[in-house]
């Protein structure tokens, strides 16, 4: 049993951390969200159909946990540790990706309904079909959000505002 959990953590930890970081924008909160997602998975008694379902479940749960934390009264009354973006985001890139902090920062400044589809599509390489499954939305909705989100990123980069 312990082997199963350690396999699960090894397999998805990095990816879930990156997704959590894209929502929380600081390392400590992102790590908390990922831990909480793993705990919920272990406690959850519903049968997981296959590996893809397992992955989608973990991503969806991580995003929901992040949104719950962001909405919580406790979070809104606290100020996150002022860590430099460059340092905080160092684990978000894969080693052979062309690094572009400016664009990534702009993506992380997007409203949540644009941020998650854009992050999953570009930075985690999910297809539109997969993102629609993870976020429980229609494929057409995801396409629209990708297009509008890209326009918002351009605005942030050129005019400095979303």
């Amino acid at each position: 049993m312990e082997q199963k959990w350690s396999y699960l953590v090894d397999e998805y930890r990095s990816m879930l951390y990156r997704i959590a970081f894209s929502n929380m924008k600081n390392r400590a909160d992102a790590e908390d969200a990922v831990q909480e997602a793993f705990l919920r998975y272990m406690k959850d008694e519903k049968p997981i159909q296959n590996k893809e379902h397992e992955k989608a479940w973990l991503i969806r749960t991580t995003i929901h946990i992040c949104l719950d934390i962001l909405k919580s009264g406790w979070y809104q009354r606290t100020v996150p540790w002022n860590e430099s973006f460059e340092n905080a985001a160092k684990n978000i890139y894969l080693p052979y990706q062309v690094r572009d902090d400016e664009t990534l920062e702009a993506v992380l400044r997007l409203p949540v309904h644009y941020r998650n589809p854009i992050y999953l599509f570009y930075y985690e390489d999910y297809s539109i079909h997969e993102i629609a499954g993870i976020l429980n939305e229609k494929e057409g909705t995801i396409k629209t959000r990708l297009r509008r989100g890209r326009e918002e990123v351009k605005k942030i980069l050129t005019e400095g505002r979303p």
Binding site: Y96, Q97, V98, T103, Y123, I128, L146, R150, L157
Partner: protein, 174 residues
């Protein structure tokens, strides 16, 4: 009076018959003449047609060759990709998509503002080649095989530039 009427009526019908016969003859003549004329026109048309067809097909082939030279083929029409030389057509070839992951790639470029991502992998073989996979915002995925020996160092083509980067900076090269 009644008899006269009958006679005049019979005379009129005889005239009508003659008139009809005359019309029919005239019609037959004109019909035959028209048919003859049409046959002549057809012969003259067929004599001209092959030349005209050759000219049209020649123009089409010429246009196609010009388009190929200018790099306006399938690849040139792809979104976000510019083809500016005939070399591009020879160096790049559209291939079947393998759905390669970021982890399996040697080099990845994420272009959020342009709406695409590129993944590159160096291929083992006698000639250096790079497999490039492009994913677009609308969901399309296209794959190309780039023969590096045919790529110019100063190429302005996005896929070729990326293939060069993959060769130089890719994970396998580190």
């Amino acid at each position: 009076m009644g008899i006269q009427e009958v006679q005049s009526q019979s005379g009129a019908s005889a005239y009508q018959k003659r008139k009809k016969a005359g019309r029919a003859e005239g019609f037959q003549e004109s019909l035959l003449q028209n048919l003859k004329n049409r046959d002549q026109d057809k012969h003259s048309d067929t004599a001209v047609e092959p030349e005209a067809k050759q000219t049209v097909t020649g123009m089409q082939i010429g246009a196609k060759a010009k388009a190929e030279q200018a790099g306006m083929g399938r690849i040139g029409a792809a979104q976000g990709i510019r083809v500016n030389a005939a070399v591009a057509q020879k160096a790049m070839q559209a291939v079947e998509v393998r759905h390669m992951s970021y982890e399996d790639s040697d080099h990845v470029r994420i272009a959020v503002t342009e709406g695409y991502t590129l993944k590159g992998k160096r291929e083992n073989g006698a000639e250096p080649r790079v497999y490039v996979e492009a994913k677009y915002e609308d969901g399309r995925v296209e794959a190309y095989q780039v023969e590096m020996a045919r790529v110019s160092g100063q190429t302005g083509h996005v896929i070729e530039q990326f293939a060069l980067e993959t060769m130089k900076e890719g994970r396998a090269g580190i």
